[in-house]
């Protein structure tokens, strides 16, 4: 519920409109490093298993070390996903060539039953996304649901072949911490590009 937009109070109290308890604002995250050298907020804490389009089995932490540009899609999608894929390619095209190897563009399927590694591989080839900077992931249904929740991505299967889903592109730094999210389709991606370039040397 958005009662008064971003209005804040300096006392713990109930919201005067919806009467729910006011929640403390998240203070700038204290980053406690754990033994793996990743912070508490890193997506590398997730332990789910994933298959790549090359048929390799990986954990998310295997993606450590590169700036990650991530989006959730499914390959049978005819409505928004082609535009999401286009947005990803558009972002990729704006990254200077000498920085591209610091990045990994990751497309995660929300339809792991249909989107096998083989299918993801052919999708990659058809869409000219088969260079090393592109990665496609197939997870388990729970793993995908959990990862979507980390990204605050919503999705729902609405027919045997179609899903409704949020259109969100997320940028993670090389330690797996969420830096920026771009919502909606075909939006001005200046901020997203800036966020990526700030993360590269």
């Amino acid at each position: 519920m958005q009662c008064e937009g971003n209005k804040t109070y300096n006392q713990p109290f109930n919201c005067p409109i919806c009467k729910m308890d006011l929640q403390p604002l998240e203070t700038s995250a204290s980053k406690i490093e754990n033994t793996d050298g990743i912070s508490e907020e890193s997506i590398f804490n997730l332990t789910s298993n994933w298959n790549t389009e090359e048929g390799e089995q990986i954990l998310l932490k295997d993606l450590k070390g590169k700036t990650l540009v991530m989006v959730m899609i499914y390959t049978s999608c005819k409505a928004a996903c082609p535009r999401l894929v286009a947005d990803m390619r558009n972002i990729e095209a704006q990254i200077p060539d000498n920085k591209i190897d610091q990045l990994n563009f990751v497309l995660i399927s929300i339809d792991p039953k249909t989107d096998t590694p083989e299918r993801l591989k052919s999708f990659a080839i058809e869409n000219y996304m088969d260079d090393p900077q592109w990665t496609f992931l197939q997870g388990t249904e729970t793993g995908v649901r959990e990862f979507a929740n980390v990204l605050a991505v919503k999705y729902k299967q609405i027919s045997p072949i179609d899903f409704s889903h949020s259109n969100i592109i997320s940028i993670f730094n090389p330690k797996g911490e969420l830096i920026h999210q771009q919502e909606d389709l075909g939006v001005d991606n200046t901020e997203t590009i800036d966020a990526i370039l700030r993360l590269t040397n």
């Binding site: 403390p24 804490n45 929740n149 949020s166 259109n167 909606d184």
Partner: protein, 259 residues
């Protein structure tokens, strides 16, 4: 004497059925097809047979869990999985606030913690469809949604503050034998993030066509069912790391096919 033997026999039969048919503190829910408020294309969905916890998970049960799985202790839970309200009503890793009761439902838990709790018991969180299906029953019928009294009672609860502080099992059980689906706390569901409406319903008219591809499919079947609408709206506004004072959970399990 004959009577005695007969009773003993009945007792054995019943306890045997219980032993094989059902897990402890869970009841069997016979699946069926029904029309939820929001479904796939707003049509009939099929719910398969499952078992459901009779009660929501309590403070003391969650305490046992965090003793066994330290990563979910208040001081150790990762920020990726919890917000600052996680177990806010607990004094420390192993003690509730003095005002809290052991057999009240555990609240201030994130979806990640709830999901892991169920998985560690060999169970899982219910899907929205399963939860709504079990919760459309009242004391006497499996689908009470058209009874004015059923809706009135739920709405009356929504208006009652602090029911999360009550003990489990004080509400009447429904026809399946499940307690407290209404009247105590809201509950996490496995796929709560499949609700493509925001908490602010006025925004949902047409604006989200870009944000949610296919959002035309999320039309409600019966807008008079305001209580259910509230539940979907709440689910739509949640994020998985949120911990709220009136949001708890219970677990379910797939049933093994009967031999």
């Amino acid at each position: 004497m004959k009577d005695h033997v007969f009773r003993l026999l009945i007792f054995i039969i019943i306890s045997q059925t219980k032993l094989f048919g059902q897990s402890e503190n869970m009841v069997f829910i016979q699946g069926s097809r029904y029309i939820p408020l929001y479904g796939r294309d707003s049509t009939v969905v099929e719910v398969k047979d499952f078992e459901m916890d009779i009660f929501p998970v309590t403070n003391v049960q969650f305490l046992e869990f965090v003793k066994q799985y330290p990563k979910w202790q208040k001081s150790k839970a990762l920020k990726l999985f919890t917000d600052q309200s996680y177990l806010l009503n607990w004094k420390n890793d192993f003690e509730l606030n003095d005002t809290e009761k052991q057999n009240s439902p555990v609240t201030y838990v994130s979806w990640f913690a709830a999901k892991d709790y169920c998985e560690c018991q060999g169970k899982r969180l219910p899907t929205i469809d399963e939860w709504e299906y079990a919760a459309m029953a009242d004391q006497t019928s499996r689908d009470a949604r058209l009874k004015p009294e059923y809706n009135k009672q739920i709405l009356a609860w929504y208006e009652t503050p602090k029911t999360n502080e009550n003990l489990i099992g004080k509400n009447q059980k429904n026809v399946w034998g499940v307690y407290d689906l209404h009247g105590l706390v809201w509950e996490w569901t496995l796929d709560f993030n499949s609700v493509l409406i925001t908490g602010e319903s006025r925004k949902d008219v047409d604006k989200d066509n870009n944000l949610f591809c296919g959002s035309a499919a999320v039309n409600a079947t019966d807008l008079m069912n305001y209580a259910a609408f509230m539940r979907y709206a709440i689910r739509g506004s949640l994020k998985a790391k949120y911990a709220m004072k009136n949001l708890g959970f219970r677990c379910v399990k797939d049933t093994k096919p009967q031999p």
